[in-house]
């Protein structure tokens, strides 16, 4: 069961990837779906047994490396933390495989797509069930590879290729920190196994490295890695571009699972992070800033997928600052609920795009809600959950995070709280901006497109409906376990909270006005968006025209891409050319080539002496004789 949950997707990927020529396209596609269903069954059973039943387990497969004191194995670690992820990933991935059968039906090479998708799922499962940092890194890089392949899936589009490369390289920048974090962990603990590290964490508090407490530095380095994968401020630039991939990919990888790997890492490393207060403050500040920053951009984007992408970026910020104030449980809970409603929103957006003949610009939509009612309803549910309206899933987790940030009673906690509240307002605003522009108002698409608007087939709608159920129910059902009364038994030690911090209690003891405020901003964001876009559709344009500088600044995503292009990409290219043409060709090669041509030149000069005329030789001989005799006589 434990092994099956992880390896069935790999089996599916291999069947679809290598055998599609023999078994045919249909069989290849469905074989991955069947493998995923099997994995989901195993995954759910594991979740039941490990998290609900409280029976963690570790399956060791075989040794990976054994070098000196360094030793680690391939193994599957099932504790509550990984069981949650396994259950969630296999479930959502199965739905998205199913959805893709409909969505990719017109594609030229669907088996390749399904192979990548299953490969991704396998890598993600390896990541979450890792028992040591290196295996986690294997999954970490593996999902990066799968994401690269899937973003660049339509490889005849230049923009897709560029986006895929950007995603991989930006992620690699984060991975450098991860790698160095592993190196320092090994130097500090002499091991990379979680059990060994976690057991020794409290005894290493005083260890310093180059004058800095080692644990702080480890925390910061891992956070650097997490920033890359989870698109936090500074390393976020790849995520919006990643929307070049097919929409199911955006739903699975760039919303529900892969991008949350950074949050998962922070939670997994909680026994170390808890002893690194400075690193946690950094996590809080960066997370809170990202939450707000991404939300501001989300308000002005016009591509339906990009709006949701920035919303993902923003929600990841929430998870990070939750972890930063020490509420790993709430971070994981938000990760869990977010996976459902964000996958739902993306797949809903995919359904809209499908209906609109591959149009993604919300300025060219509108007036389609009657034609695609199911999509419309599920998009509402997803947005309600995202905005954190009561009874929907997002309400429970977002509320907990904001209350926790307030309850932390620290400066960074307060900063996070303020950013979080502002972002919550903006989240509600851009979600309803999206809903209204997409579905309501006068149709802005051409007639031909409008005539073709149709509801998606059942194979796409069933996953949507199931995810919608998840977006409604998961909060209600799981809140007591993740963050409520049952939490100690549920987590079963998988997450470590410093006993002196009492964050789990502080969260529940905040003034009455805090939850009220959270709800108020969300509702007012919705109302504002409905008024502006629903009733006075000319006003937003006028506002944008009134503050053109701000509008352009937001529209161009705070100019991060331009900045990076100017300070990293272009100089690197210039330097590369300089080093090659001047450094290598002119200087390093110049010396031996110069020496060679000097030797050749000298030789040519000497050659000229050999004229072949006897008179010249005789003359030279006589001169030589004279010189020799003179010297001989003078020397005597």
């Amino acid at each position: 069961m434990f092994v099956g949950a992880v390896f069935f997707p790999l089996l599916g990927a291999c069947i679809s990837g290598f055998l599609n020529r023999w078994i045919g396209v249909k069989a290849a596609m469905w074989s991955t779906v069947i493998c995923m269903v099997l994995a989901a069954i195993c995954g759910s059973l594991s979740f039941w047994q490990v998290a609900m039943g409280g029976q963690p387990a570790t399956v060791t497969l075989f040794t990976w490396m054994d070098v000196g004191e360094l030793e680690f194995a391939w193994s599957l670690r099932y504790d509550t933390l990984s069981a949650i992820m396994v259950g969630m990933v296999t479930f959502i991935s199965t739905l998205i495989h199913l959805y893709s059968i409909g969505y990719m039906s017109h594609d030229a090479t669907p088996p390749r797509f399904f192979a990548y998708l299953s490969l991704f799922t396998f890598m993600m499962l390896m990541l979450v069930t890792a028992d040591n940092l290196v295996q986690l890194f294997f999954g970490w890089e593996g999902v990066g590879l799968a994401s690269y392949l899937l973003i660049g899936y339509w490889y005849d589009r230049e923009s897709a290729n560029a986006a895929a490369m950007k995603a991989f390289i930006v992620n690699r920048v984060g991975d450098v920190f991860f790698m160095l974090g592993m190196a320092l962990t090994f130097l500090t603990f002499g091991s990379l196994d979680f059990d060994t590290i976690f057991a020794a964490a409290s005894s290493k508090v005083d260890v310093t490295f180059m004058g800095i407490p080692s644990l702080e530095l480890i925390g910061l380095l891992f956070f650097g890695g997490a920033c890359g994968k989870s698109a936090q401020l500074g390393l976020h630039t790849w995520l919006p571009d990643a929307m070049e991939g097919p929409t199911p990919v955006s739903a699975l990888i760039h919303a529900a699972t892969m991008v949350t790997a950074g949050v998962f890492l922070m939670c997994r490393m909680s026994p170390i992070m808890e002893y690194a207060p400075f690193a946690l403050s950094v996590v809080t500040v960066v997370g809170a800033s990202t939450a707000l920053f991404a939300a501001t951009i989300g308000c002005v984007q016009n591509d339906i997928k990009r709006v949701i992408a920035y919303s993902t970026c923003s929600q990841l910020g929430y998870m990070f600052f939750a972890a930063g104030v020490g509420l790993y449980q709430a971070a994981m809970f938000h990760l869990f609920t977010h996976a459902f409603f964000k996958a739902l929103l993306f797949l809903g957006a995919g359904s809209v795009i499908h209906a609109m003949s591959d149009e993604q610009d919300i300025r060219k939509m509108g007036g389609i809600w009657k034609k695609i009612p199911v999509t419309y309803v599920v998009m509402w549910i997803g947005s309600l959950a995202l905005a954190g309206i009561p009874i929907f899933a997002g309400f429970y987790s977002k509320d907990a995070i904001l209350e926790g940030a307030f309850g932390a009673h620290s400066a960074v906690g307060m900063y996070a709280f303020i950013c979080g509240i502002l972002a919550a307002f903006l989240t509600a605003f851009y979600s309803w901006r999206l809903l209204i522009l997409t579905f309501h108002g006068a149709p802005r698409a051409d007639k031909h497109t409008m005539d073709h608007v149709h509801e998606s087939p059942a194979v796409m709608l069933i996953p949507l409906i199931l995810l919608a159920c998840g977006a409604v129910l998961t909060g209600m059902i799981f809140a007591p376990y993740f963050i409520g009364d049952e939490y100690v038994r549920f987590w079963n030690g998988a997450i470590f909270n410093l006993p002196s911090k009492h964050m789990m209690e502080a969260m529940h003891h905040v003034p009455e006005w805090v939850p009220t405020l959270v709800l108020t901003v969300a509702v007012s964001g919705i109302v504002l968006a409905i008024i502006l876009y629903g009733f006075f559709p000319k006003v937003p344009g006028r506002i944008a025209a009134a503050v053109p500088g701000l509008y352009r600044f937001l529209l161009n995503k705070w100019y991060f891409d331009e900045l990076y292009n100017a300070i990293f990409v272009q100089p690197a290219k210039r330097l590369a050319r300089q080093l090659w043409q001047v450094g290598d060709t002119r200087i390093i090669d110049g010396m031996p080539n110069g020496a060679a041509s000097l030797a050749a030149g000298t030789a040519r000069g000497v050659v000229r002496l050999q004229t072949g005329r006897v008179a010249n030789y005789a003359f030279a001989m006589i001169i030589g004789l004279v010189v020799f005799v003179t010297l001989f006589l003078m020397g005597r």
Binding site: M65, D66, V67, G152, D156, L180, A183, A576, P592
Partner: protein, 504 residues
């Protein structure tokens, strides 16, 4: 006599020469000679490979001693003997050489059409010299093999190479020879001191520090060129670009390892104090190599040149790992050497596959190959990922261990090595994107055929190795762990003794 019961190392070394004799005896018209030469060379190298597998099976991983030792006195008056033997460091390189040779012969099956007989002879002689070099336990013998490798390689580049082959082959020859002359001087000096050139005996011998410094520099001159380290690397791109595909494979796969092997076999055990003294210098050169050549690779428009520069960058990781003097660093360096042999060899073969079809190495001439050659695209992707050290592929364990080892010495060095991770991804993905992705705009690209069975057969063992080394590297690491552990321990003891003396 030894674990195999017969002189296996000499047999593996000199068996290819038997193939040479057979090829030379063949007479007839050109086509018959060519086909005979091909088949003879293939079978000879395959038999050699199978024979060398005995080493894999019989090697005792629990001891750091030399194994399968053969000893014949050769010039007893001078203390020079014919001694062959392998330990954990060299045994896998013998196997790498014997594995790559048949693959190279297969890769040249159709692409080499003129002077096939001479070509195959050159390759078989090359194999003898490479294997001999890794097995030699006498310094003089080592030197002879080490230098003799140059001759067939010089011919392969100079005769069967591209348009600028003469320039490239001279450059290659002169660069490497110049360094070797200094090494010869050092060997003679060593012989004057110790009276022997047997490596096991020499390693017992204490060399005064002053002399160590001079000898280290002399060895360095030779090995650094072979590695190649920055700034004496410029012969490599030229040699690679002009060499035929199989020549590039051997050059990248085995010849580049000779320098690093020299450092491990001679510099560190014989000259421990000088090695420690010069280590910071090596770190700087290695980091410069990683960053500088990665950047240069980014600017290349020629596929082979790009991979050649990436080789220099990987070799920077190797030299860095060797001079960390700790178990992780050295094992990482050894593993990187092996994996680089497999992966860069395979990458050159990948270039060869499309070069054979379109006869150009310019990246911009391709684009969209994935559409017409899906099998090729998959193979190429695997090796691209292995080259950028994705975990689970052959490139990862080595780079990971070196960074771990380097961090223990100095975190900034580790950071420098780790920037190679980012830059490596940049240039390899640029290459892959340029060749495999994009829209097909050229008719000759649209007409390309996917790989044939012969080509799959060449890649199959390399694919298996690239994954095996990534997923279960232990079966390779276990070969050298004992030897390296002993080496690290001896190095520390030597340094400790030296510093105690200095304290007095």
């Amino acid at each position: 006599m030894n674990a195999a019961g017969f002189p296996i190392l000499s047999l593996v070394t000199f068996l290819p020469l038997v193939g040479v004799l057979i090829i030379m005896m063949v007479r007839g018209d050109e086509a018959v000679v060519a086909s005979n030469a091909r088949w003879t060379a293939l079978w000879t190298s395959l038999v050699t490979f199978l024979l060398s597998l005995i080493l894999w099976a019989q090697f005792d991983k629990t001891t750091a001693d030399y194994q399968f030792v053969e000893q014949v006195s050769w010039l007893p008056d001078f203390g020079i003997g014919y001694i062959m033997g392998v330990d954990g460091i060299s045994v896998l390189f013998v196997l790498l050489s014997t594995l790559l040779t048949p693959l190279c012969i297969l890769a040249s099956w159709t692409s080499v059409q003129n002077r096939v007989r001479e070509y195959m002879i050159a390759f078989l002689i090359l194999e003898t010299m490479m294997v001999g070099m890794f097995c030699a336990l006498d310094f003089m013998l080592f030197y002879i093999f080490f230098e003799a490798v140059l001759i067939p390689m010089f011919l392969i580049i100079g005769i069967w190479g591209g348009p600028r082959r003469v320039y490239a082959s001279y450059k290659f020859f002169l660069y490497t020879l110049l360094g070797s002359v200094l090494m010869l001087l050092a060997i003679i000096a060593l012989w004057f001191q110790a009276g022997t050139t047997s490596i096991p005996e020499l390693s017992e011998f204490d060399i005064p520090f002053n002399m160590q410094v001079w000898m280290f520099l002399a060895f360095f001159a030779s090995f650094a060129v072979k590695v190649p380290m920055w700034p004496v690397h410029t012969w490599l791109p030229d040699a690679h670009v002009e060499a035929p595909t199989a020549g590039s494979v051997i050059l990248a796969g085995v010849l580049l390892k000779m320098g690093a092997y020299g450092f491990l076999r001679f510099s560190i055990p014989l000259l421990p104090e000088a090695s420690a003294y010069f280590a910071p210098f090596i770190y700087v050169l290695s980091i410069v190599a990683v960053v500088y050549t990665s950047l240069v690779a980014l600017a290349q428009q020629d596929m082979k040149k790009l991979i050649a520069y990436s080789s220099v960058a990987h070799m920077g990781i190797v030299t860095l790992g060797i001079f960390t003097f700790n178990q992780q660093g050295i094992e990482g360096a050894l593993f990187t050497m092996l994996s680089h042999g497999v992966v860069s060899g395979a990458l050159f073969l990948c270039v060869g596959v499309v070069y054979d079809r379109l006869h150009t190495r310019e990246i911009a001439r391709y684009g969209g190959v994935a559409k017409v050659m899906p099998g090729y695209a998959m193979v190429f992707m695997l090796f691209t990922m292995a080259s950028i050290a994705l975990p689970g592929t052959a490139g990862f364990p080595g780079e990971f261990l070196v960074i771990l080892g380097a961090w223990a010495v100095n975190p900034w060095i580790a950071l420098g090595a780790a920037t190679g991770m980012v830059l490596g991804a940049c240039y390899m993905l640029t290459l892959y994107r340029g060749v495999a992705f994009g829209k097909i705009t050229k008719d000759d690209v649209r007409a390309l055929l996917d790989m044939e069975a012969r080509e799959y057969a060449i890649f199959a063992p390399l694919i298996v190795l690239a994954l095996w080394m990534g997923i279960y590297p232990q079966s390779f690491l276990s070969f050298f762990s004992v030897t390296v552990a002993q080496m690290v321990q001896q190095h520390q003891a030597a340094i400790g003794a030296a510093s105690r003396l200095a304290g007095l």
